[in-house]
Amino acid sequence: MTATQETLKQTPLYSEHIGLNARIVPFGGWEMPVQYEGILAEYGHTRKAVTLFDTCHMGEFIVTGDCIANGLNEIVTMSIADMPVNSCRYGMMLNEHGGVIDDLIVFRQEKEKWFIVVNGATTAKDAAHFRKHLRQPEAFKDISASIGKIDVQGPLSLEILKKYVPGIGKLAYYTFAHFDLLGERVLISRTGYTGELGYEIYSSSRTVVPIWRELLKNKEVKPAGLGARDMLRLEAGYSLYGHELNEDITPLEAGLSKFTDFTKNFIGKEALLKQKESGPRRTLAGFISDTRRAPRQDQKIYAAGGEAIGLVTSGTFSPFRQKGIGLGFVLPGCAQKGATIYFAEDKNAAKITGKFFYQNDSLKKTTT
């Protein structure tokens, strides 16, 4: 059976998207909205106002117990034992070779209760990995099917959400709390995938439709699809699993070392230590095209001398830069900032800049 013949899953918001005239595409086993009125318009609305993204396809797990005793600490790369309750932390889970099984966010709900958010397309594989490596299998629950999730992103996100949850202003970047919203207790975190001030609302899969509809009653709020989401995350320099991350790529190569904690044990650590000694096989480079031409995934990257040095993993037109931008893996030593590279067969010139093409101070600022 090929991927296209498989039954694609629909989120609880599917009929909302149809009602909003969304263009639907298959994405990681799900039927998801790629755009509503247009990718550039939705991008622009997220950067200047506020948009909603249906992220119900993502996976959510609960792990209970002491993270050291139950083995959770060794499944994830980042330090979690020191996390305050009501904080979240980004990291990865690795295989024995140091390759990335998935990137994820761990939320500490209680001293011994962990809420873990993973990618939609990898949820089943991730759940199997947790079940295999947790010392107490009963400590694990996959609650993905019962959870609805909406991302509320953009500079006006706080103003809009305050109308419904007055206490939300106290949330600092990468923290969360529980709030009453439309009669249900929901979890809201100050996190996102756009580089803007923003929040993610985790509700029951039943309540997600009324929340979506209620938020869209505000004239400042519009829906945004996967097309805008990819453009926004790429400008902000966020990795996308399946592009900058996969089971053959290590966090050292992907430029995500700061989300690994070598003072503890974790699966894949030995392989990473070896790679630290031998040096990574490649390194992730961010680059800006000299023109509006966008690099595309799998195009080759060439050095000034004409030799092939890597491959594009993601590329888009950047409205912020008014140029094409891209990420790609190149040979070690070929990612110096300022260096000129060329992408695609027709050798379009680009400059290596680093991956943070867009940064907005409001993302992490203190709010009230």
Binding site: Q35, T291, R292, A294, F317
Partner: protein
């Protein structure tokens, strides 16, 4: 989706409008809608000799890059420079402000290889 009756069309969704031996060329409203937001146009150069149905420009959208084929043979005499800074003109005005190039045609009989608006509409219906 609009198909204006004063143009001729190709199966690759280019349009051409010929006046006094000069062909103005662009892509159809159907094409711009299928492409989505256009972010980059690689224009031909004035002076380029082009052949009918051969690649002479490319258009990139937020979704993909697409080659554009010349509907007619001849010499490029002018290109729409406004597309360099505002490629979205094609989305907003495919048949007017979003023209791509003007070509001095070398063989008027080539128009018999093109579709009238009526034929193009039928063609669009046939491809669903």
């Amino acid at each position: 989706m609009e198909v204006v009756d004063y143009n001729l069309y190709t199966k690759e969704h280019e349009w051409v409008n010929i006046e006094d031996g000069i062909a103005t060329v662009g892509i159809s409203d159907y094409a711009q809608e299928a492409l989505g937001d256009i972010t980059f146009v690689e224009l031909p150069k004035a002076g380029d000799e082009v052949e009918q149905f051969e690649e002479f420009a490319s258009v990139e959208s937020v979704k993909a890059a697409n080659d554009i084929f010349s509907p007619i043979s001849g010499k490029v005499i002018e290109v729409n420079k406004n597309l360099d800074s505002d490629p979205g003109l094609i989305n907003r005005s495919a048949y007017e402000k979003g023209w791509i190039a003007k070509i001095k045609i070398s063989d008027p009989e080539e128009t018999s290889n093109l579709m009238t608006a009526e034929e193009y509409l039928k063609f669009l219906e046939s491809i669903g």
